[in-house]
């Protein structure tokens, strides 16, 4: 690519620049080598901790505590997964995490779709103010609402329930979702809807039969982003969950390190638990890489 050397970060000294054409092939090779070294460095920095988790998850406890460390498992085993299943209610937490993620993603997308359609397509008094209000409310720190939320949920008996967590997460996801979805709806050519309305379809029929089919990729993208965010959520379950009725896998992470057989913290359990939490999101992320990248970029580009 011609841009390869036009804006490579390190500066080329002025003398060299004048002899540019003369040195070109050599310089190009050097830059290519530097580029690949940097790429390799980045990949190693990014993957090393993840590799470490995978490695430790499959290494029996007795082999984890060696000096120097083994970077390849000598006797790979599933023993850590068995012990972690005894310490943590894995099945229940997995169900809780999945329910929380799916319900939060579903309701956040549904609610933001309705709002986004109105904001993008209907002129009503106060729509600008409401839109801006929802957007700016996203900057209110969760920590600056958590105490009254806790009191409220205590009074409403919503503590330690999946419904309660879904209510919290949807609220938390809404500002960005409304923002992204509204910009997606605005990108649809209005002619489609006008045609439908001339044919006598009312507003909601148009939404269902014309807008939603066109928006399907955008809906999927937002659903995925919110799914990952909800699966990763830790703070709300930490405050609002009391028992395995609503505790998620992210809470399980903090419980997994207990192992009665060892005096030290059970790092093998910890790693196995970490792997159980991250494998589903990694699969989602890698399979739907394109949609997720698009969604992340769409949220901010307009900014």
């Amino acid at each position: 690519m011609s841009t390869t050397e036009t804006y490579a970060p390190p500066a080329a000294p002025a003398e060299q620049r004048q002899r540019h054409t003369h040195y070109r092939p050599v310089r190009k090779t050097i830059w290519t080598v530097i580029l690949y070294v940097l790429v390799a460095l980045f990949v190693i920095i990014t993957l090393l901790p993840i590799y470490w988790i995978v490695l430790s998850a499959f290494t029996p406890m007795s082999e984890l505590f060696t000096v120097p460390l083994n970077y390849f498992p000598r006797h790979p085993s599933l023993i850590n997964f068995q012990t972690v299943a005894q310490v943590v209610p894995l099945g229940q937490q997995f169900i809780n995490s999945s329910l929380l993620a799916l319900l939060s993603a579903f309701f956040s997308v549904l609610v933001c779709l309705l709002a986004a359609y109105a904001f993008a397509r209907i002129r009503f008094p106060g729509s600008n103010a409401l839109f801006l209000g929802i957007l700016l409310s996203g900057y209110l720190p969760t920590i600056a609402m958590i105490i009254p939320l806790f009191q409220m949920f205590e009074n409403l008996s919503l503590l330690d329930s999946i419904q309660g967590l879904v209510i919290l997460l949807v609220s938390f996801l809404l500002p960005t979702s409304v923002w992204i979805m509204t910009s997606f709806v605005r990108q649809i050519p209005i002619e489609l809807e006008e045609a439908a309305q001339i044919d006598g379809a009312n507003f909601l029929t148009t939404l269902w039969h014309v807008v939603i089919p066109v928006l399907r990729p955008a809906i999927a993208t937002l659903f995925l982003l919110n799914l990952v965010a909800s699966w990763d959520e830790f703070f709300f379950p930490l405050i609002f969950s009391r028992s395995s009725a609503s505790q998620t896998l992210t809470i399980g992470i903090t419980q997994a390190a207990v192992n009665p057989q060892y005096q030290t913290v059970a790092w093998g359990n910890e790693a196995a638990m970490a792997l159980i939490v991250i494998v589903p999101v990694f699969i989602l992320t890698l399979v739907f890489q394109k949609q997720i990248v698009e969604g992340l970029m769409a949220g901010s580009l307009k900014g």
Binding site: Y7, L38, V39, I134, P141, S171, E194, V293, G303
Partner: protein, 311 residues
């Protein structure tokens, strides 16, 4: 941040050529459609936020009996509380250093991912993995990675250098670890946003710079950076405010320790409210965290406006 709504709005009345009654029905429909989102935010964000402000002026606590209005007492107490002051100072250091490092590192990643090389698709996928990981996993896994006896980091250091730092027992080192993890976990997201910005810069600008004989550095400094400036300031709003509110990492890695050296404001509020049950006092600290966030938003917003006008 804000797109001109009027321009994008549909002249619905004209298009449907409906009667006045029909128009009113449409307006009603508008309110009905936005109602769930608005009510949700009012009930589960805005009301609790306002309530936090109210409680910050009270001595509310399940242990204190009746709730009393105590004016600014919580705030004056806060600025004399050594734990809060230490937490504030680390919050400032953490926000400044982590934001700066993250931005530079993210810019590097973005420039790298914007080049053509073999396996770029795979590397871009790898870049997403830290973003997808829950922060609490990063924190707990690192607790052990930075273990001085059996941790990987010290093992790698000890192979080259004759010492093994005791990361998490030393206040300064523990702070460095928190920052490193935060950068590792969150830079990929910022890199993606910058990458999107890079891809939006018209090719002709690079060509023009090349024709003018500009060096690589010069092109970056005079063409790429000014073009990216509005995006970077917008990004700074997100990155810096999220730093002020970082919680999971500290909870999972250090629990604010050793001592209170890594206790960020959010963690401090959590401690006050849910361990100490000081609802009023915790609210005051939370309100102060909000003031910092507001300040950062306004500053970077103004910078963004200026950089947009400069284009």
């Amino acid at each position: 941040m804000y797109v001109d709504i009027e321009a994008a709005k549909v002249p619905s009345a004209r298009a449907t050529a409906g009667t006045r009654r029909r128009r009113i029905r449409l307006i009603m429909l508008g309110y009905i459609l936005v109602a769930p989102a608005v009510i949700w935010r009012l009930a589960v964000a805005i009301y609790p936020f306002l309530n936090t402000i109210w409680q910050s002026f009270t001595n509310n606590s399940p242990l204190a009996g009746t709730q009393r209005f105590i004016g600014l007492a919580n705030f004056t107490r806060m600025f004399q509380d050594p734990v809060i002051l230490q937490s504030l100072s680390f919050t400032f250091i953490f926000t400044a250093v982590s934001t700066a490092v993250q931005l530079v590192y993210a810019m590097g990643i973005a420039l790298l991912l914007n080049k053509a090389f073999r396996g770029r698709g795979i590397v871009r996928a790898v870049n997403l993995l830290p973003w997808a990981m829950p922060a609490i996993v990063v924190a707990t896994a690192s607790q052990w990675m930075f273990n001085s006896q059996f941790g990987m980091i010290d093992d790698l250091i000890a192979r080259v250098l004759p010492f093994r730092p005791i990361w998490l027992a030393n206040p300064d080192l523990a702070r460095i670890v928190v920052i490193i993890l935060d950068v590792w976990k969150n830079s990929p997201w910022a890199a993606l946003i910058i990458l999107a910005g890079l891809q939006n810069i018209p090719r002709e600008l690079y060509e023009a710079a090349r024709v003018d004989g500009a060096s690589a550095w010069r092109t970056f400094y005079s063409v790429v950076l000014p073009m990216l400036a509005p995006l970077i300031f917008t990004l700074l709003i997100f990155v810096s405010t999220y730093r002020v509110l970082t919680f999971d990492l500290v909870y999972g890695l250090t629990q604010g320790g050793p001592g209170h050296s890594t206790s960020l404001l959010s963690y401090q509020v959590y401690q006050l409210a849910f361990t100490g049950l000081y609802y009023g006092y915790g609210s005051a600290v939370a309100v102060f965290a909000f003031v910092i966030v507001l300040f950062l938003c306004v500053v970077f917003f103004l910078f963004m406006r200026r950089s947009e006008q400069a284009l």
